[in-house]
């Protein structure tokens, strides 16, 4: 669903169109849920975030003047996920959360999937990869959502893909 179609759907939702809401949910549930999950790594929190995003969209959809509703919706999901992570780990600073790498599984003989490989990335890199590939956002939009320079986004993305490529090929984990 491109931005034009999204704007149409949001206008319809503003007029109480439940079918448009369901279509919007069907289209965006997977990327939003995946992004929430890749930030929180928690099914329950991700479901809560997904619910929160869509309830907000239904009750107060963004104004039709917003040029990029897709980025707006992902911004909302990103902020809620970061808030959720903050609540879960109050004793850890946000910077530590964003930069901390998830530890790989101890038992290397287990069959590993891309999800496990993604868990080895620092949260920020994992988020950029997910927003770009699954959320289909442009680097510039990701840069605005995450409030980091465009160059950093591109650099971290390249770095993350190289790492994942290495891991999947069997280079390290």
């Amino acid at each position: 669903m491109n931005n034009l179609e999204l704007t149409d759907k949001l206008n319809a939702i503003r007029n109480g169109d439940k079918i448009a809401f369901e279509e919007l949910y069907t289209d965006l549930q997977t990327p939003i849920y995946t992004i929430a999950y890749r930030i929180t790594w928690d099914v329950s929190s991700s479901e809560d975030i997904l619910q929160e995003v869509f309830i907000k969209l239904f009750l107060s959809p963004p104004k039709s003047t917003i040029k990029n509703p897709r980025a707006y919706i992902f911004q909302m999901a990103h902020n809620l996920a970061i808030d959720s992570t903050r609540t879960q780990a109050r004793h850890i600073s946000l910077e530590e959360i964003e930069n901390s790498a998830h530890q790989p599984l101890d038992d290397l003989s287990l069959r590993m999937d891309i999800e496990t490989a993604l868990k080895t990335l620092p949260t920020q890199e994992c988020e950029i990869v997910t927003l770009h590939i699954i959320g289909e956002l442009k680097f510039r939009e990701i840069s605005e959502i995450m409030k980091i320079p465009l160059g950093t986004v591109i650099w971290k993305y390249q770095k993350a893909i190289s790492k994942l490529q290495k891991i999947i090929t069997g280079g390290s984990l």
Binding site: Y33, Q51, D113, I134, Q165, T169
Partner: protein
Amino acid sequence: MKKVAFVLVIIMLVGMSMTTYAQGEPEADVFATDRPTPVENADPITDANISFTEDVNIHRLSDGETGRGTIDTPDKYWATNGYPDNISFAYEAGGEMLENGTSVAYWEIGIVNADEASKNEILDLLSPNCLITFRDCTYSYKQREAAFNEIYASRDAIVRDVQMLLNSEVVFVEIADGYEKEYARKYVEQYGAFVVVTNDIAAADDAIAAGGLDKGGNNPFDFWFFPICLFLLVGMVTVIFFNRNRFIPVMQTNNGNVITGSTPISRKQTVSAIKNSAITPSNDVFNSIVKRVDDLRK
């Protein structure tokens, strides 16, 4: 256990040999590959009249022209097949993953007396994965290499070190204090303005970018010794690692496709695997949303 001990002793011996070799070759620094632009801050010490200036070097001709041939890495291609007379340098200055999942590498290629024909020749050689920026240069790779080899062979108490860059048309020479102007004049007259004299090549290193080239000399033994040692060391460590861990790198994507460690995975396949790893929430979530919305509206 005895086998492991034996292998460890060999590793130690190889390691010691490599250390000794490295100590005997003071110019064997390897430049980092992610440093910023070269030369601009290098502050070469030369006579003003004959010093290297940026005017001599790197005039940008074009931005991001796509290749039409098959070669992905021109630097390796030319290193193997010999640099053409009109090429000064070729280096990879970054890259990008495009929206369609294709990766593109940015190549900076210096051409001597560049014209459309020589640009087209390169575009025909390089693959569409290369986005090429051409730069107009004065000195060819071969010319610089010849100068490098001669200066390298003439190293003594005054001519301490020499390094040739792969990302610009510069050859740095470290000269002892007090002799800089004399040697700068001599080298420029003898070779051309691409020879830049400094009295501290290590300081210049900090300003040298991606493609700093270290040439360890012309002795074939020197050339092969380090890679052979490294190869043996890596091989032994790999054997030990796999034996000890009984690790078989087999992975499975979320779609159930099994990928073995022996299969090289491209960036495109990696991106595709990530795309396929998207997670769909349970159906209950939507029902829950609708219920909550209805509750809130009441």
